[in-house]
């Protein structure tokens, strides 16, 4: 039905990626510094970083010759509030229901 090229929820479903987000949340880090915290092979960590960046949960920033990864607070907030659009749909429907029935009553 729907094909998301970058599924942010799939991204945070992985425990290693969640660990990376927690790590980077405290301070911006290079790929090497992030990888040194894991037993996983460096290319695997790179792949995780790529996915997190594609989902916009991480942002890259060039400083001199190094690239630092930052947390994207705006995107993280969106994910935390992912239930809101679902709630909004029902709220809109129920608001309409109330209006329709008030008119029905006065007819």
């Amino acid at each position: 039905m729907m094909n998301l090229r970058r599924d942010v929820f799939q991204a945070i479903a992985d425990p290693t990626r969640r660990a990376i987000l927690l790590l980077v949340a405290t301070q911006a880090m290079t790929a090497g510094a992030i990888a040194s915290n894991f037993d996983t092979a460096r290319p695997t960590v790179s792949k995780h970083l790529q996915i997190l960046t594609e989902c916009e949960l991480l942002k890259q920033e060039q400083s001199g010759r190094e690239i630092h990864y930052h947390i994207n607070a705006k995107k993280m907030k969106e994910v935390a509030e992912f239930i809101e659009p679902f709630r909004k749909i029902w709220d809109d429907r129920f608001n309409l229901l109330e209006t329709v029935m008030k008119n029905y009553k006065s007819k």
Binding site: M1, M2, L4, D7, V8, F9, E78, F82, I83, E84, P85, F86, R87, K88, I89, W90, D91, R93, F94, N95, L96, L97, E98, V100, M101, K102, Y104, K105
Partner: protein
Amino acid sequence: MELKTKINAEDGKQNLVITREFDLPLELLFKAFTVPEIIEQWMGTKVLKLESKKHGSWQFETSDAKGNVVFKANGTIHEFSPNRKITRTFEMENAPFGVQLELLEFEKLTDDTSMINMHIIYESGALRDQMLKLPFAQGINMAHNRLEDIAKKLK
């Protein structure tokens, strides 16, 4: 402003509860769920069939401006107690979300106010989460498509 419609979806569970209070007498609130022409107005969908009784069934269909069917759903009614409760199933056609069980309870608060408590149970926690994320994901997708449209025009 206080949120009128509340959703309670606990982590790792396969159900959720939607609650809402209305400035409507109980009878009018209940009517909004049983009269096809009224459902069509607030749900924005066409009611093909609605048998509001035990063992009855229902069928909704929504088309876009061009007349293409974009949403089709159906289910059966297991309990129909006027002004009190509707128990029904809900299944979206051609969608991988399975069947959900919906328990709708209606309650009188005062002569002019009432509330609904919708308890929805999904086949699994994963399916519940998918349904919850759908509007969010569509929002992201729409934003993404808008960006692509803008980018195309810039070329």
